[in-house]
């Protein structure tokens, strides 16, 4: 039976197998450990065979999960044995027993190094394997150069080199700072020419690690990767032993495509074409076959190809092909493919423009929510969450709610969190939102965190229309026999505030409300009791004329809790009792809650925080990224509104402070600031408190502290205790300004958008303007996404375009009002009439509360958007170049003060401005030649040629020659390029040179601007 050849070991394993229970096993193990320990102690008597046997036993025991706290030394010492059998055991056992953090490994470093640099290739293999599996920092420091040498050595056989590649990968991955890979680009490129597929596979893994850290250095590997892929896909000279179920090494294919995903684009059109041919072949040529392994392998390749297509953001055709494939996959029987279909669809949401196609599969995805497999259900949930927007939120959230009742326990928390977030973000109307959350509390109260119901209160308080509805709903739920405590809390709160709005309905007299709430009191915890007391006080206040019987009942309760052991409850009871005897002041202090300042949902914040540690919430991350681009919801940054005073009680005696002062106060309050503390880096403004701070603040008066502080003064005489608690609330009233600070640097955003076609143009606490553009020849189509980030509407919205004379721009109608948390899209048609560097300006204004906010933003419809890169061959270039003989068609200038950069970087810069670098045209390696086509109505398509001559000795100056068939174009293009070279003010370059322009805050429109070319003038101003 046993092949092991070590009888003692076999016997021991049999004994363990024969143990009836864990206890017996433990005894047997202890006995064996004792035995081994004594044997090791008198080491002299151990033959190599015995030593090997005991070390294996130790490993076996360790593998079973027992602690083995001795014998590591013996295992490590076997490594230095002269003979192969002992050495082999030493290496393998050491790499299983120890990990990179063990000090014991240090003892072995010298031996390992000797084995690696020695001549014995079997020893080299053993050493490389162990270092590759558990190598840590010290190994990296002392061995990396030797391992690198082995990898590229021409005298080593493949079996050593493939191990060296992975060993190096391990050392590099763990300690990239220690392993020096400077200049490795060329070596890697050479390694990719390797004929042995084992070495090539390992090298490709190494390449993936290298490019993931720094793709810039490895551009030269890109075409080679494409070649490898072509070779494999065509099955050209792949040895039979490297095909797997007829597929040429699927693993190498996958790894190669993985490496390619780390390069931002594929610039060279030929390489790109070849790559897309391969991808097309994989996408279309993969069939479902009977053999499971073949199917898996071919689909592994297919899914990697999908990921690569998504990454390269290919022509739209390919993308829709991918969605179609995924749509097919999510409906197949094979569960693996279904799972991966859903997963990749979620990834695909990153790519814009496919949401609508994905939505077509909504029904199928919802079906997957009921799949027998929890892995698949999770993916479906994630995808539904990711694809949700205003149009389908109602359907999706209702599905989630329905599923909640039957969902397994493991998923409920996530489900309710996601349902709550979606309901909040995409609520078509707020009453629906209230419905959803109440249902959620009803069905899964345990999983509804306080944040969620606080948010409901916030919405209801801020929207008067909603108040009677919410109160009525709350009243309905109270009729249910057993309700969750959270439901008691939210209902009590809402009814305390708003039940008087229902007074005429049956069963809603103050008495009814009181008694139905009071029924719940015996069953709830102290924190809820505190809320109930507030509710009673509010009910009392709203009962006009006073009902002596009700008053007596409630006072009795206050009396009872005056001696409560919980200090919070006690304080509330005492204060409410005192207040309720004061009549008029009760009215002041317990008046309806003022509106809450706008703030970010604690829930969404939490979701964003959570994604940091659980990669599980990928869709949340995704969603956040999407919102950056085209937001239609409350977004990221949480700022206190600088203006807008809350409508407080009727009788405010002192000037009501602005909201910003209340926010200031809150950040000073350690209790409420703390929960937000972790976010300080994100928030440029003082933090707003969690609602918790407001609702459960140690103060009888419930209201935003700013307002509460003021009201207190009016009653301070009788209520010193209360005033003392929140004394800090009285702070100097902040100065009101009309300025709204933009979020992020406007200039950087503009420059970023000059290079790409979608992104955020502008953002402030109230509004976010996203932009998306498509350019074709001399025409362009931009869409402005105007998003209101608040829960109240933005009014008097105006957007005007001030075009420079060379652009014809038509903006479609911009609605005057943007509803709460909605987003409107405004398409913009652009036509380029003639070459010019002037920039169009968007004059955007809106009113928030009483303040007019006005910003002027440069639109990224700049000269380079009308360029189209073109490759020019030698035969075409020179005749053109010569025919454009001199000024004004060909202009030359020496530019000084250039930001020094390597030539490759400059080439990249040109590429990003849509010039095609033509290598090889100029024999001087310090020169760059680039070509492109410019489109405008006057010039039509016009070839533009550029030559940059740099001086390697002085990188701050260069000579530039620009030649086109149009004098204006030549001049404008030359100036444009000069601007880019002299200061490159993109976010990417952190050169201190360009100072960010002052934020364009509320600039008065200069009268001079209307003279002749307003756009140009304004661009100058900006």
């Amino acid at each position: 039976m046993a092949l092991s050849g070590m009888r003692g070991l076999s016997v021991f394993i049999s004994d363990i197998r024969n143990c009836q229970n864990k206890e017996q096993e433990r005894l047997r193990v202890d006995k064996e450990l004792g035995n081994v320990r004594t044997r090791f102690k008198n080491e002299k008597g151990l033959t190599p065979y015995e030593k090997k046997k005991y070390v294996w036993k130790m490993l076996y025991i360790y593998m079973l999960g027992y602690d083995v706290d001795f014998g590591h030394m013996e295992a490590v010492s076997l490594i230095s044995a002269p003979k192969y059998p002992e050495k082999q055991v030493g290496y393998i056992v050491t790499s299983c027993l120890l990990n990179e953090n063990h000090d014991f490994l240090r003892l072995a470093i010298n031996t390992v190094r000797n084995d690696i640099i020695g001549r014995n290739e079997t020893f080299q293999c053993l050493a490389l394997t162990m270092v590759g599996n558990i190598g840590g920092r010290e190994f990296a420091e002392s061995l990396a150069p030797d391992v690198q040498k082995l990898l590229i050595s021409s005298s080593c056989r493949p079996l050593v080199r493939k191990k060296a590649a992975l060993c190096l990968l391990r050392l590099y991955r763990k300690n990239p700072d220690v392993v020096n890979v400077d200049g490795w680009a060329d070596r890697m490129a050479q390694l990719l020419d390797e004929r042995d597929l084992g070495v090539l596979t390992s090298s490709m893994s190494l390449l993936v690690a290298l490019v993931s850290n720094n793709h810039e250095a490895y551009w030269s590997c890109l075409p080679k990767c494409v070649k490898i892929l072509e070779r494999l896909a065509r099955n050209q000279d792949v040895p039979q032993e490297y095909t797997y179920y007829g597929i040429p090494s699927p693993w190498l294919q996958v790894k190669t495509m993985r490496a390619l995903q780390y390069f931002p684009t594929v610039e060279d059109p030929n390489t790109r074409r070849s790559l897309f041919e391969v991808l097309q072949r994989i996408l279309m040529g993969t069939d479902v076959v009977k053999n499971v392994n073949k199917n898996n392998a071919s689909h592994a390749v297919l899914f990697e190809a999908l990921a690569l297509v998504m990454h390269l953001d290919a022509e739209k055709e390919m993308m829709s092909q991918c969605v179609a494939l995924l749509g097919k996959f999510i409906a197949v029987r094979e569960p693996n493919i279904r799972y991966l279909g859903l997963e990749n669809m979620t990834r695909m949401l990153m790519v814009t423009d496919v949401q609508d196609i994905i939505k077509r599969h909504q029904a199928q995805i919802i079906t997957s929510l009921k799949d027998p497999d929890i892995s698949i259900r999770r993916r479906a949930l994630d995808l539904l969450y990711g694809m949700c927007d205003v149009s389908n939120a109602k359907d999706i959230v209702e599905e989630l709610l329905q599923y909640l009742s039957t969902a397994d326990f493991a998923m409920r928390e996530e489900l309710s969190l996601k349902a709550a977030i979606l309901a909040e973000k995409f609520a078509p109307d707020l009453s629906w939102y209230v419905d959803v959350i109440l249902q959620l509390i009803d069905k899964a109260g345990d999983f509804v965190s306080d944040d969620i119901w606080f948010r409901v209160v916030q919405f209801v308080t801020n929207n008067e229309d909603l108040q009677p509805y919410a109160a009525a709903k709350a009243r309905e739920y109270l009729d249910k026999p057993a309700i969750h405590e959270t439901m008691v809390k939210v209902s009590a709160y809402l009814l305390g505030e708003y039940s008087h709005l229902l007074a005429r309905r049956p069963g809603c007299t103050p008495k009814d409300i009181f008694s139905i709430i009071h029924e719940k009191l015996p069953t709830v915890s102290t924190s809820t009791v505190a809320i109930l007391l507030s509710t009673y006080a509010k009910i009392l206040m709203h009962t006009q004329p006073a009902d002596p019987e009700l008053q007596k009942q409630i006072w009795a309760i206050f009396n009872k809790y005056e001696s409560c052991i919980d200090v919070e409850i006690q304080q509330r009871a005492v204060e409410y009792f005192a207040l309720s005897r004061k009549g008029a002041s009760l009215m002041d202090i317990l008046a309806e809650m003022p509106k809450f300042p706008e703030r970010q949902s604690a829930l969404i914040k939490k979701a964003e925080d959570a994604e940091v540690d659980t990669a599980e919430q990928s869709a949340i991350k995704l969603r956040a990224q999407q919102m950056q681009q085209t937001s239609n919801a409350l977004v990221l940054s949480d700022q206190s509104p600088a203006n807008g005073t809350p409508p407080v009680s009727q009788l405010s005696l002192v000037k009501v402070p602005s909201m910003s002062s209340s926010a200031e106060h809150n950040s000073a309050d350690p209790g409420s600031a703390q929960p937000n503390g972790s976010l300080t880096k994100v928030d440029p403004q003082p933090l707003s408190p969690d609602l918790l701070g407001d609702l459960l603040a140690p103060l009888a008066i419930e209201g935003p502290p700013g307002a509460g502080g003021q009201s207190e003064q009016s009653v301070a005489s009788g209520l010193e205790g209360a005033a003392a608690v929140d004394g800090a609330a009285i702070v100097p009233v902040a100065e009101q300004t009309n300025t709204v600070e933009p979020i992020g640097n406007i200039a950087e955003r503009f420059h970023a958008l000059c290079l790409k076609d979608s992104g955020v143009l502008y953002e402030d606490p109230y509004v976010q303007i996203g932009i998306k553009a498509e350019w074709r020849g001399h025409q362009g189509r931009l869409v402005l996404f105007l998003g209101n980030k608040n829960i109240s509407p933005l009014v008097s919205v105006q957007a005007l375009i001030l075009p420079p004379s060379h652009l014809k721009i038509e903006l479609s109608l911009v609605p005057e009002t943007i509803p709460p948390r909605a987003q409107v899209q405004c398409p913009l048609e652009v036509m380029n009439l003639r070459p010019s560097r002037d920039v169009a300006v968007l004059d955007f204004s809106y009113k928030f509360n009483t303040n007019m906010i006005n910003v002027k933003l440069r639109l990224p419809a700049v000269l380079n958007k009308f360029l189209q890169p073109i490759t020019v061959s030698v035969e075409e270039f020179f005749p053109q170049w010569r025919s454009l003989s001199g000024p004004p068609l060909k202009l030359q200038e020496v530019v000084r003060g250039v930001r020094p950069m390597p030539l490759a970087e400059m080439a990249n810069l040109f590429n990003s401005y849509r010039f095609m670098i033509c290598p090889g045209l100029d024999p001087n390696p310090n020169n760059l030649v680039a070509s492109t086509t410019f489109y405008s109505e006057s010039t039509r398509a016009m070839l533009c040629l550029t030559r940059i001559e740099t001086d390697p000795a002085d990188r701050t100056q260069l000579r530039m020659t620009v030649a086109t068939g149009d004098p204006t174009l030549t001049f404008e293009l030359k100036e444009f390029i000069k601007d880019q070279l002299v200061s490159i003010p993109t976010a990417a370059s952190h050169a201190p040179a360009p100072a960010p322009p002052a934020p364009p805050v509320a600039q008065p429109v200069s009268p001079a601007a209307s003279l002749n070319d307003p756009g140009a003038m304004l661009a100058g101003l900006l």
């Binding site: 046993a2 059998p85 990990n99 590759g132 191990k163 032993e241 699927p250 996958v254 599980e616």
Partner: protein, 161 residues
Amino acid sequence: MIHFVLLISRQGKVRLTKWYSPYSQKERTKVIRELSGVMLTRGPKLCNFVEWRGYKVVYKRYASLYFCMCIDQDDNELEILEIIHHFVEILDRYFGSVCELDLIFNFHKAYYILDEILIAGELQESSKKTVARLIAAQDSLVETAKEQASSISNIIAQATK
């Protein structure tokens, strides 16, 4: 990258473990307990992937034995699933229709073989033939050493007679 490889029997007994990321013995035990709880309770017709603590676990059952590998979220799951099968095929070829008992009594051989397939949690060799050749070479090295040793001890034995 593969963080660890586990072979667990249907009864939850550990047959082989290999860790490519540093885990303490305590963590190892916890991981094994948690994962066997998840894997062994999954029905037969479900997918081969389980999401676990921000990682993915790819597993497959062969007769009474579960082979499982833990990878990063965005790794290619099917690729790993076929690495498992590749490993199984090589074991099968080496032992001649491998069964759980072979692996129990020859767990050290399984380690040798695994080391020829994976290093640093990455695939090292995708040719079954090459792996088989290398393992055979190792075996013969061990054999030769043994013969030499016995012949030397014979000589010594004879000399001291």
